[in-house]
């Protein structure tokens, strides 16, 4: 079934409204991490006037969007990401939150998921009180590692102890619905160091744990350092071993692996992120933010001056069915349970296997995908080569390529 149909909610005057996620991008950081290629910067982040101008622009963009969307949608998830949203005074963030409530129809507080990303060094007692006051009921904490030497090498400004203190502080006065973000495959990281981080994080009993393999992106300092031979990464088999040990260890601690890089205690999935993986609709506001509404993907400008001057949108395009199918496969297969053929058929009015049968069969034969006849998902082996599998699927490359 199409989630957007299933989740239709009744509006005030009886007409049905579709659920909407709102993503708000806060591009400021105290310091740029050496692996980061997201739109964020330390420059100007310390200037209060500048930050205030950004907040004002965010509110203007929200107001513009609300005119178009408020009658058709009801907001059920809000996500403040960055950068480091908690670089701002959370009071300012709450100002944006209030604007969302004022401009949009929003579900009741008990049904609303409202997440803010935080870095350990920027979460003090005052920030926590403000998060709580603003209504945030989920916090994603960028811990990355509990090894101080590794953290320094990543260009992170916090240490392990700060992470633990921040976690406890959030748990004590904001919410226990906390995600801990971790990274593996880092330069100098061993399987032992990684296991130690996992064990300690699990002992805090967060509701959600995400773990990402370090990716070297062109333009980052890690990419050029690695290319120049200045840093080394753990061998690929060790990287995969780290991945499997995370799934295994967290699984044994009661976490369900539901997306390639995410695990959660029962019922604690991130509903906002799941929208990304189920073709759900979302509005992104802020610098370089992305939206997906009515089969149109759009992208905001990445030019901060243009953004604060009110030139928000950069490009948008209505997706063809072919593109939607590509998106669907690319996103839904990130979920551990993949997608159901029936859902594909309802959505695109065509049979998945008649379109992708040859490639799918080859990938199943090679042990990279698995099907129970009703749905399709990655095998454990496939999870180690997700890019290859998706690339072959999207390009309909048959079984002759690679083994």
């Amino acid at each position: 079934m199409i989630p957007s149909e299933k989740n239709r909610v009744e509006g005030k005057n009886g007409c049905s409204r579709k659920p909407l996620g709102i993503y708000v991008h806060i591009p400021f950081c105290r310091q740029k991490c050496r692996y980061c290629d997201f739109v964020s910067f330390a420059k100007g982040s310390g200037d209060p006037d500048f930050r205030q101008r950004y907040i004002a622009a965010l509110k203007r963009e929200l107001a513009q969007q609300a005119v178009l969307l408020k009658d058709r949608y009801q907001v059920d998830t809000i996500y403040f990401g960055g950068g480091t949203p908690t670089m701002l005074d959370v009071g300012q963030i709450n100002d944006v939150v209030e604007e969302i409530f004022r401009l949009f129809s929003v579900v009741g507080r008990d049904r609303l998921e409202m997440t803010i990303e935080a870095n350990p060094e920027s979460v003090d007692a005052l920030q926590c009180r403000r998060m709580e006051a603003g209504g945030f009921n989920r916090v994603s904490l960028g811990v990355q590692s509990l090894d101080d030497a590794l953290l320094r090498r990543l260009g992170r400004v916090h240490d392990a102890r700060t992470s633990e203190e921040s976690f406890k502080r959030i748990q004590g006065c904001v919410t226990d619905n906390i995600n801990v973000d971790l990274m593996f495959g880092l330069p100098g990281q061993t399987a032992g160091i990684w296991r130690d981080t996992l064990v300690r994080v699990a002992s805090w009993e967060p509701a959600h744990v995400s773990f990402y393999s370090l990716q070297l992106e062109e333009g980052t300092s890690f990419y050029s350092d690695y290319k120049a031979g200045k840093i080394d990464l753990p061998p690929w088999d060790v990287n995969r071993q780290m991945y499997r040990s995370a799934v295994k260890h967290l699984g044994e601690s009661g976490y369900e692996h539901y997306e390639v890089s995410s695990t959660a205690l029962p019922g604690r999935f991130c509903r906002h992120n799941l929208k990304y993986w189920t073709m759900g609709e979302y509005l992104g506001v802020g610098l370089a933010a992305h939206s997906y509404l009515e089969n149109v993907r759009s992208e905001n400008t990445a030019d901060l001056d243009a953004y604060t001057a009110g030139e928000f949108s950069d490009k948008s395009s209505a997706e063809s069915v072919e593109e939607q199918i590509g998106d669907y496969l690319f996103t839904t297969l990130r979920k551990i349970y993949g997608f159901e053929y029936a859902d594909f058929k309802t959505r695109f009015e065509t049979d998945f296997l008649s379109e992708f049968g040859t490639t799918t069969e080859a990938l199943i034969r090679e042990g990279l995908l698995i099907s129970d006849g009703r749905s399709l998902r990655f095998t454990n082996r496939g999870l180690d080569r997700t890019n290859l599998v998706l690339s072959r699927l999207l390009n309909r490359e048959g079984g002759s390529h690679g083994k």
Binding site: F38, Y212, K227, Y243, V260, H290, T331, T386, N387, N395
Partner: protein, 603 residues
């Protein structure tokens, strides 16, 4: 009275880049009412976007202005614009030959520059009267008296009466006009004589055919005349003559002293070559004007369609450019690495860069250009001679006796403090110094014999960089010379990429090989596997680098719902001009081909 030669002044403007030539031209047009202010696009004469961007003039233009002078007479001014780069020296010399005088614009803050000097010498060779003008006097750092002194010292002409102007602010522009009246001699041709007219530019028009810009020296020409081009010996019937004021305006006839345009149903600019002399077929002049030269390409490179671009599109666009550019040559060729494309000949590196840029910007083509090469003369064992423009066509080393390379006579003008550095540079580029002269106390001219293949790589960039922009270069072909040349191949992942092969001097091969490998290592992105990059001569590897492997097997974080960027990486691009080229399993960005040529300051 207008056509009386006494009241005609034919002149051009000479200036260093950025000294204000085009701005002054605009002011002259404006002040003489030739262009209404509201119609002024800034810098009217430079009408190609590319020229505006680079601040240089590529294509010559000529404009007729009417000026009521203080003496009460109305004068006809023909302003002939000149391009400003070493590749176009010949064109410059022909447009100077169409004038009696030259306005020399010197920046009051910068003084006389090397490039100015090169053009002044060309003007003096054509016996032009030089009218110095000091520009930018509105700037706080202007030092007009010193600059006047410099003009007198360096060029040896009187400058005490030079108008002090600000072209930008429109200050004292009339003084310039009066100086032109007073100092530039009137033409002295014989209107009753046999027709002698100089072609100083031409371009192709879709409706009129080739439009010739011409200066009439003797005699006259009118519609219906049968004209003969004395060097190409072709005969045409004149369909239109006119003046440019500043749009083309037909007139009954053009006679001695006049500058204007002429159409005669000519199909290609290569049939109406710059420097050729027009005469009447029935009553021809006994001798052509001196100075005609058929320009020959000196530099060749391959131009190939990039991924997703059609071969036919590239051919059509080259054809379109050629109609207007007698110096551009091209013919089909094939490369194992790049497929079907063209070998193209240019006057020099700038000419090449301009053509490439026009193909990319004006015609929106996706193209790949290969290393520029000169024409080598290969003497085979049996004495036969092969002219090789493409390094990959060089026959096996055992089949030829030796290779000869083209040498140029190069003149480099520069401030004396850079002499040591530039002599080192020339020596490094296998140059042999002929002599050196002090032009003034601070300015020096170096005369060298240089192999052209060293000049086309990065010599000009290196010269500019090492002299902080003050050095200028002028060169002309001299002769072929036997030389120890070898072919160097580049291998990616153990396969030769023929488009990267080059012919280098044996003594430079190691250095060049290392340089190319390092550059390629920089621009080739990491792959899932290691990519060895090798330079080799025959079977012998002389340099090697490796691009590290980086496995990107798993999905990355898709931030804030940005799925498109990551998804695109997994999709084979079905359309668009992807700037990557696949060699075996290695993806090479297009800029790799030019990156290996760029001057590297750190060297």
């Amino acid at each position: 009275m207008k056509d009386d030669q006494t009241y005609i002044r034919n002149f051009c403007i000479i200036a260093h880049i950025d000294h204000g030539k085009s701005t002054l031209a605009d002011r002259l047009l404006e002040r003489t009412g030739s262009v209404a202010q509201r119609d002024m696009r800034e810098q009217f004469l430079d009408n190609m976007d590319l020229e505006r961007e680079r601040g240089i003039t590529i294509k010559l233009q000529a404009t007729r202005l009417l000026y009521h002078a203080r003496d009460g007479h109305e004068y006809v001014f023909n302003l002939i614009d000149t391009p400003g780069h070493v590749d176009f020296t010949y064109e410059v010399s022909r447009s100077l030959a169409a004038c009696e005088g030259a306005v020399l614009v010197v920046d009051a803050t910068q003084g006389v520059e090397a490039q100015t000097l090169a053009n002044v010498y060309l003007a003096l060779e054509e016996n032009l009267e030089i009218v110095p003008v000091i520009n930018k006097i509105d700037l706080a750092s202007a030092r007009p008296e010193e600059v006047k002194q410099e003009i007198e010292d360096v060029i040896g002409i009187q400058a005490d009466h030079a108008p002090l102007i600000s072209a930008k602010e429109g200050v004292n522009i009339e003084d310039v006009l009066e100086e032109i009246v007073a100092k530039v001699p009137a033409p002295k041709g014989d209107p009753k004589g046999k027709l002698k007219a100089l072609i100083f530019d031409s371009y192709y028009d879709n409706y009129k055919g080739v439009v010739i810009y011409t200066r009439i020296f003797d005699g006259s020409v009118r519609v219906g005349d049968m004209i003969r081009l004395m060097n190409t010996k072709k005969v045409y019937e004149v369909t239109e003559v006119g003046v440019i004021s500043p749009v083309q305006t037909p007139v009954g006839s053009l006679s001695a002293g006049a500058v204007g345009y002429l159409c005669a149903s000519i199909k290609q600019v290569s049939d109406a070559r710059v420097g050729d002399t027009i005469t009447l077929d029935r009553n021809p002049a006994p001798q052509a004007l001196h100075g005609y030269k058929k320009v020959q390409p000196m530099v060749y490179c391959g131009i190939y369609p990039a991924e997703g671009e059609k071969y036919e599109n590239v051919r059509d666009c080259l054809e379109k450019l050629q109609v207007n550019d007698a110096a551009l040559l091209f013919e089909p060729e094939t490369s194992t690495a790049l497929g079907f494309g063209f070998r193209c000949g240019f006057l020099g590196l700038l000419h090449m860069e301009i053509i490439v840029e026009r193909l990319e910007r004006e015609f929106d083509l996706g193209i790949i250009t290969t290393s520029p090469s000169v024409i080598y003369r290969v003497v085979m064992n049996d004495g036969a001679v092969l002219m090789i423009q493409n390094p990959s066509n060089l026959p096996a080393a055992t089949t030829y006796s030796h290779i000869e390379e083209p040498m140029v006579k190069a003149s480099i003008m520069l401030p004396k403090e850079y002499v040591g550095t530039i002599m080192e540079l020339c020596q490094d580029r296998r140059g042999v110094m002929e002599h050196m002269e002090y032009l003034t106390e601070t300015r020096v001219a170096l005369h060298y014999q240089l192999p052209l293949n060293e000049v086309i790589y990065d010599f000009f960039d290196a010269l500019k960089s090492k002299t902080r922009g003050y050095g200028s270069l002028d060169y002309e072909f001299s002769h072929y010379q036997k030389s120890q040349l070898v072919k160097m191949d580049i291998l990616l992942n153990r396969e030769i990429v023929d488009a990267l092969s080059m012919i280098v001097h044996e003594s430079k091969a190691y250095q060049r090989g290392r340089f190319v490998c390092e550059k390629l290592k920089d621009v080739i992105p990491m792959h899932q596997f290691e990519v060895p990059i090798q330079a080799s001569i025959g079977q012998k590897v002389i340099a090697r680098e490796t691009v590290r492997a980086y496995r990107k097997d798993v999905l990355a974080k898709c931030y804030g719902g940005d799925i498109s960027r990551k998804k695109k990486l997994l999709e084979k691009q079905k359309e668009g001009k992807k700037r990557m080229r696949q060699f075996g399993s290695v993806e090479v960005p297009q800029e790799a081909f030019t990156a290996v040529l760029k001057y590297d300051d750190s060297k």
